[in-house]
């Protein structure tokens, strides 16, 4: 079981309110990703749930019981830290055994669980090594192993992949995803990397300055961003956001069009511009079109084999039904 409910949770450091009152429901077995730019309070929120920070106001319910004042150990949650936080003087086996030893579990059961975790995470050959002798990916797996042996009601991940190189990150992302499918335990995952958020999450929580901007499935956020912030934050490359005359034509303060929803042509269209930088990735090409009068550059996605080059004059046409319209306050106009 791992149902976590936040009711009006607030965090203040002195006079600075980093998290204004916030409500959130996390269902049992869900993979929830907190995503947002750095300093948006996502890590603080995770630490509040873990019990490593005290809440200033509000309640945290875990499986329906009030855990606001409970110590971190009593909440039955396991956390994987950004720096892995392995105990450097203990072997991998002792690292994984530490929470079990602290819980006073008998030796046979400890050994059984360690063997199972090591087997699941490919750590069996490394059990007697020290963390210092392991690679980054292996350390990450030890940290996960230390979390799963406790059989917690929820896992908390604090930017766990940010210290790994790009190739390893993709691999570990898959492993964490597999782990979730196998264990079906609630997981809360903090990241600033939206690719991780999009690929892992059942539910994404977009945070900005401590406030929840939008909660929804990855595709939901991508297709129907509720405001300008989410529209600009989710998606890579970013959604094009235009203000001024182009937006006024749609009766909005700001309009947003994703790069794949703009057609590029040399013959004719709605907006005229010149190709600046172009990136050819094979499967698709991205053009950064300048001098449109809309924004500094407009990003456009096209098929892989379109022959346009720097300085070419082009016409851009948005797909009318894919234009997102936002009002003065930045909220979506339905």
């Amino acid at each position: 079981m791992g149902r976590i409910t936040l009711e009006g949770v607030t965090k203040r450091f002195g006079d600075v309110e980093v998290i204004p009152p916030l409500n959130l429901d996390i269902e049992d077995g869900e993979f929830v990703v907190f995503v947002g730019p750095s300093g948006c309070g996502k890590s603080t929120l995770l630490r509040l749930i873990a019990g490593l920070e005290d809440v200033s106001a509000g309640r945290i319910l875990i499986d329906g019981t009030d855990a606001t004042e409970a110590s971190p150990a009593k909440r039955g949650l396991a956390m994987v830290f950004q720096s892995y936080a392995l105990y450097p003087h203990m072997s991998v086996r002792k690292n994984i055994a530490f929470p079990l030893k602290m819980a006073g579990m008998d030796k046979a059961e400890q050994d059984r669980r360690i063997a199972a975790a090591a087997n699941a995470l490919n750590l069996t050959d490394y059990l007697d090594r020290r963390p210092g002798q392991l690679s980054g990916g292996q350390r990450q797996r030890v940290a996960i192993g230390r979390a799963i042996v406790r059989e917690p009601s929820a896992f908390l991940f604090d930017e766990p992949l940010s210290n790994l190189d790009a190739a390893l990150r993709v691999g570990m992302r898959l492993e964490i995803s597999e782990l979730h499918t196998r264990l079906r335990t609630t997981m809360i995952y903090v990241t600033h990397d939206q690719v991780e958020a999009m690929t892992l999450a059942d539910k994404i929580v977009v945070l900005h300055a401590g406030r929840i901007e939008q909660v929804g499935s990855p595709l939901d956020l991508y297709m129907r961003p509720r405001n300008v912030f989410v529209a600009g934050f989710i998606g890579s490359p970013k959604m094009n956001l235009f203000t001024g005359e182009a937006a006024a034509e749609y009766g909005a303060r700001t309009i947003g069009v994703r790069p794949e929803h703009i057609a590029i042509s040399t013959e004719g269209g709605t907006w005229k511009g010149r190709v600046g930088v172009s990136e050819h990735l094979g499967s698709d090409s991205f053009f950064y079109v300048e001098d449109t009068g809309l924004a500094e550059t407009v990003t456009v996605r096209a098929d892989g084999e379109i022959g346009l080059h720097h300085g070419d004059e082009v016409w851009l046409t948005p797909s009318e039904d894919k234009v997102h319209k936002f009002d003065d306050g930045g909220d979506l106009i339905e």
């Binding site: 971190p72 150990a73 949650l77 956390m79 830290f81 936080a85 003087h89 530490f98």
Partner: protein
């Protein structure tokens, strides 16, 4: 060194310092060795003769010798115990953010700046004195009779004075070590259900092992040669109750004017110190890898 040229240049550049240090060490050691085989007394310096091993035999069979060895051991171990345990405790206390932290840290470190004879005199006359010391005042306040520290517990009093002087050193080294402990590790242990004392045993102590080793090694070197504190307080007494090896050598040289005997004692002290050093490096030096 990157190349053969820079290597030989480096050897040349550091040679003066090494040669100077070597002379500083070899000449006194050679003179001490030489004197230790002479019958040489300052009361009658004109008459010197070859003594063979007599000085060593004389020093070794002195009943004060074994007492002084024992006292040296008690002094070193006692001070190490107090400074290491106390240092860990104080380091943990002043590591927490408190009001006036900077001032508190300076106050904690300040005993280290007081020179040993001055510190010992302050303790002797203002703190431990049986009639106008602070301890006597406290004892009178509670209606008990004051303790005459230097008469009743001479060695223990000296241990307290020396420990007071070395506590800042231990605290400082242990505090820096404590501050380098990764906060996420402590939080991870907290999430793993480890209460405060388990975190201390399983995380803090192993992390500080290296710093504790450094404290023990460095302090042992200095504690083997404690002398000024004994000179200005108990003069090694009553009897030999607070005489350590260093003080015994001083007594031979400056009170009995027996240069030969003192030199023999010095050589014995050097040999013993090296035995202790080898033993220590074996026992705790592996933490320094």
């Amino acid at each position: 060194m990157a190349t053969r040229q820079t290597a030989s240049l480096a050897r040349l550049m550091r040679a003066p310092a090494i040669i100077l240090l070597l002379i500083w060490m070899v000449v006194p050691l050679g003179m001490t060795l030489y004197y230790s085989f002479l019958n040489y007394n300052l009361l009658n310096p004109a008459v010197t003769s070859w003594a063979g091993w007599f000085n060593y035999q004389y020093f070794y069979t002195d009943p004060a010798f074994l007492d002084s060895l024992w006292n040296t051991l008690v002094l070193v171990v006692g001070v190490l115990l107090i400074t290491v345990c106390g240092g860990i405790a104080i380091a943990i206390l002043i590591d927490k953010p408190i009001f006036g932290q900077g001032l508190v840290r300076i106050l904690v470190i300040s005993p280290f700046f007081v020179m040993p004879p001055v510190a010992a005199l302050i303790w002797k006359n203002m703190i431990m004195h049986p009639s106008y010391g602070v301890f006597a005042d406290i004892a009178k306040f509670f209606g008990t009779s004051p303790v005459d520290w230097f008469a009743q517990y001479p060695l223990f009093s000296i241990i307290i004075i020396v420990a007071w002087q070395w506590l800042p050193f231990a605290t400082l080294i242990l505090l820096t070590s404590l501050q380098s402990l990764d906060g996420e590790q402590m939080e991870a242990a907290e999430m793993d259900g480890a209460p405060a004392y388990s975190r201390f045993i399983h995380l803090v102590l192993p992390h500080m092992a290296r710093a504790i080793t450094v404290v023990i090694l460095i302090q042992t070197i200095f504690l083997l040669s404690i002398y000024a504190e004994i000179l200005v307080t108990t003069n090694g007494g009553p009897g030999t109750a607070s005489t350590n090896l260093t003080y015994l050598i001083y007594r031979a040289a400056r009170l009995n004017f027996d240069i030969g005997g003192a030199a023999a004692g010095g050589v014995i002290a050097v040999v013993l110190a090296n035995i202790v050093a080898i033993f220590l490096m074996r026992a705790v030096g592996k933490n320094l890898d």
